[in-house]
Symmetry: C2
Subunit: 416 residues, 2 copies
C-alpha cells in the first residue's frame, strides 16, 4: 500500500477502511488475484495486477468510444468477440497507457497476453488486458514479462484491496464496492474495483471507456445477459460522472461471472451490479484530481430524459461553475449561464434553481435568499444543485467536482 | 486608467502602447465617446462608456446564442430589428451583467436607454446597450442615471482607449485595433474595441455573443451589408477562440458605420473588418484569465472544414492539453486523446502531429524526437499544435490558452 492514510480525505479514509475491513469487499468464489511491481513508472510500486478465474467466467466489457483507442483496449474488444463473452483472466498495469503506440504497442500488449495464456494453459483470447498511465510511451515489456511467472505463483483469493491499489495512478485511495445477494438460501457476491482521478469523462459502448473498473460475481450469468446488465449499470453510473471532460483512450469496465454460487434471478444480479457500479463511480468522482468539494446536479421538469441529462452534464462540467464551487462562492448566475448554452430549448422565466435546498432563482427572477444562506450551501462538502426546467416530467442527474488549483498543478506536471 | 503598466504581460504592454500611441486607434469620423464612474462594482473606477454617432449610423449586431440571454442583449436585438439596422449610440457598463434579473432587470435596462434617448432627442430604439459583470444582480440604475447627463456633456472624438478601458472587467489591458482603407484618394478607418477574459467561448448569431466588442467605421455601408460583413468577420475571429468553454449570457459585437468618409468597395471594408475582428479576438485570448501561454491549433487534411474546426476546438478546449501547455510539459498523448473524442471519424494510423514544427507522432507511431526538443516547443509563448488527419484537403484553426492556477483562483472568488 502506497497510500499515506494521514493525507487522505474523509472519503478516502472511509473507502480505505471499507476496502481493508469489510468482509464483503473480496473476490467472489471462483476468482484469485495477485499483484507485482515491474517498475513501470516508479520503482517498488505495485503496478501490475491480475485476476484469474481458473475455471473460466462469463465476461462482458464496456470500452471507450475515443477513436484514439489504446492497444490493450483494442485487443480486449477483439478477445471478447472471439470468445463470445468468456475469459480466464484480466491483466492490468498502471504507469503506462500503451495508447498511441502504434504496431509496436500492439505487439507488446500481445506478448503480455500470450505469456499469461501460456501460464494458464488457455488460448490467448481468454485473456483480457488494459493499461493506464502516460499516453504515447511504449510498455517496458521485458520487465513485465519477468513478473508474470511470480504473479501466477502468488494467486490468492481474499480482499480486493491489493488489486484495487495496484491499478491506481493519480488516485489517492483504492476504490472497492460490494453487495451480497440472496436467493433460496444461497448467497452470491457482486463486488468490484475501480481506478481513475483524471482524464475522466467516461463515454463507453459495448465491445467497442483512464477509468478502469472490474466487477466480479460468483452468480451464474450468461455472457449476453452479463453484457446487458453491465451496459445498464454503466449508463447509470460511470456515464453520469465527469472530472475534466476528457474522455480517455483507455476507459474500460470488465464484468466477470464465475457461476460458482449458482443461478440467481437476473433482476437481483442486475440491481446489485448497478449499485456496485454507482458506488465505484461516486468513489472515482470523489477522488477527482485535486478534489476539494463534490458537485451533484439534478435536473427535473425536462421534456425528455436526454434533455435533462444534457443540461445536468453541461452545468456539472462548466469550468466557471466548478471554480465557484471550489471557492464556496454563491455565484449561481454561472449555473443558469451553463444551462442556457446546453443546446436544450428553455425559457429562463420557467426555471427554478435551488442549491442545497435554498432558493436562488424562481419565477423568472433572483430569489431574495440572504447572502449567508447562499454562501453556506456553496460551502457544503457536496454542493447539491437542483434546476427545474418547468417543461415536463423527465429528470436526470450528473456528478462532478470543483476545479481546483491542485488539479492544474498536478496536470501541468504529469509526465516530466 | 486602472491598469498598472508594470504588471502587464508583453502582450498587454504592446496592446496598451498601441491603444495609447497609434493614431489609427481612434474613433472614425462621425463618432464621439465618453466614460463615467457609477461605482457599479468598485467606487472610482470608470464603469460606464458611451459612443454616440450624432447623425446616426448603419448598425449591425451579433449576439449570444445562450438562451439565458441578458436583458440588455434582448433589448439591443429588438432595437436593431425595429430600426432595420440603425443606431445613434451604444451604452455599455461593466461590473454587472444584468442577466438572470427578470422583469426588473429589463425595466432597468430600458430606463438607462430612455435616459440616453432623451438626451440625444432620438427614439429609444436608436440606442443599443449591453452590460458585463456578475450575473443575477440588479443594475444600480439610480447611480447610472445620475451619470448620463455628465456623459453627454463630455462626448469627444479621439482615441479609443478610454472607451476600451471602461468596459474592462477581469481584463488586464484595453483591447483596440484599427486599419485604414483607401479608395480613389479617400481614406476611411475601421477600428474597434473589445473586452473579455473569462466566460469566453463566443457562440453568436445575427440579431440574436461576456465578450463585448464594437467595431466602428466612417465608410458608408448599408445595414444589410454591414450585418453580413460583421457575421463573416466574427465567424473567422471570435468564433475561433475559447478561454473556458463557457458561452456567456452577454456576448455581443456591434458594428456601426457613420458614412462620413463616403462609399468604399465592400470587399475592402469587409477585409478590414475581418482583420480588425481577428486582432481583437487574439487580444482577448491573450488576455484570458490567468494567461501564461497561448495555444494555436491548426487541423489540416480533414474531409470538411467543419470536421477540421471540431477537432481543433476540442483539442484547444481540452483541460488536460491546456494544463500540459501551462506546465510546458510535452505530454502530446493528450492532444491525440482529445482528437479521438471530438466526434469526427479518424484513424490514428493516418494522423501526423507536430508542435512548433517538431515531429511528435507520424506513421501511426510516436516520433523519436529527443526530449529536449519536445520540451522546448511546449515552452514557447505560443504553443503551435498542428494535427493532420490524413483524410482530405480541408483545414481550420482555433485559439485558446493554458489553464492556470491563477484562472482557478480568480474564478473561485469572483463575486464575494
Amino acid at each position: 500500500m502506497s497510500v499515506a492514510v494521514e493525507e487522505l480525505s474523509t472519503h478516502g479514509r472511509a473507502a480505505l477502511e471499507r476496502a481493508s475491513r469489510d468482509p464483503l469487499h473480496r473476490l467472489p468464489q471462483g476468482f484469485v488475484a495477485a499483484t507485482a511491481s515491474a517498475a513501470i513508472k516508479k520503482p517498488g510500486r505495485q503496478d501490475m495486477a491480475i485476476v484469474v478465474c481458473p475455471d473460466g467466467a462469463a465476461a462482458a466489457g464496456m470500452f471507450t468510444r475515443n477513436l484514439v483507442c489504446a492497444a490493450p483496449v483494442q485487443l480486449s474488444k477483439r478477445h471478447l468477440v472471439m470468445t463470445r463473452g468468456h475469459a480466464h483472466a484480466i491483466l492490468i498495469n498502471s504507469g503506462c497507457a500503451n495508447a498511441a503506440t502504434g504496431a509496436e504497442g500492439m505487439s507488446r500488449a500481445i506478448e503480455c497476453v500470450e505469456a499469461v495464456a501460456r501460464e494458464l494453459d488457455v488460448a490467448a483470447e481468454a485473456i483480457l488486458v488494459n493499461s493506464t498511465g502516460v499516453i504515447g510511451v511504449q510498455l517496458p515489456v521485458e520487465r513485465m514479462l519477468d513478473q508474470i511467472p511470480g504473479l501466477m505463483q502468488r494467486l490468492v483469493d481474499g480482499p480486493l484491496l491489493p488489486f484495487a491499489s495496484a491499478i491506481m495512478t493519480t488516485d489517492t485511495y483504492p476504490k472497492t464496492a460490494a453487495i451480497e445477494i440472496e436467493h433460496e438460501g444461497r448467497r452470491a457476491i457482486v463486488s468490484g474495483v475501480a481506478k481513475g482521478a483524471g482524464m475522466i469523462h467516461p463515454d463507453m459502448s459495448p465491445p467497442q471507456a483512464t477509468m478502469i473498473s472490474a466487477i466480479f460475481t460468483d452468480a451464474d450469468v450468461e455472457p449476453r445477459a452479463l453484457q446487458t446488465m453491465l451496459g445498464d449499470a454503466i449508463d447509470q453510473s460511470f456515464h453520469r460522472i465527469s472530472i475534466d471532460g476528457d474522455t480517455s483512450t483507455n476507459d474500460s469496465v470488465f464484468a466477470l461471472a464465475s457461476g460458482k454460487a449458482g443461478a440467481f434471478p437476473e433482476a437481483k444480479v442486475a440491481a446489485a451490479m448497478r449499485a456496485v457500479a454507482r458506488e465505484l463511480a461516486l468513489l472515482v468522482v470523489r477522488d477527482g484530481e485535486g478534489f476539494e468539494r463534490g458537485i451533484e446536479v439534478k435536473v427535473t421538469g425536462a421534456k425528455t430524459k436526454a434533455d435533462a441529462l444534457t443540461v445536468a452534464k453541461t452545468i456539472a462540467s462548466s469550468l466557471l461553475v466548478r471554480c465557484a464551487v471550489t471557492g464556496g462562492d454563491p455565484n449561481w448566475g454561472r449555473i443558469l449561464a451553463a444551462a442556457g448554452r446546453a443546446g436544450v430549448a428553455l425559457d429562463i422565466a420557467d426555471l427554478t434553481l435551488t442549491v442545497g435546498g435554498v432558493d436562488l432563482f424562481r419565477d423568472g427572477a433572483p430569489a431574495d435568499t440572504p447572502l449567508p444562506d447562499r454562501e453556506r450551501v456553496f460551502r457544503e462538502p457536496l454542493v447539491a444543485i437542483h434546476l427545474d426546467l418547468g417543461q415536463g416530467h423527465a429528470s436526470d442527474e450528473f456528478f462532478s467536482c470543483g476545479l481546483t488549483e491542485s488539479y492544474v498543478r498536478l496536470n501541468a506536471d504529469y509526465t516530466t
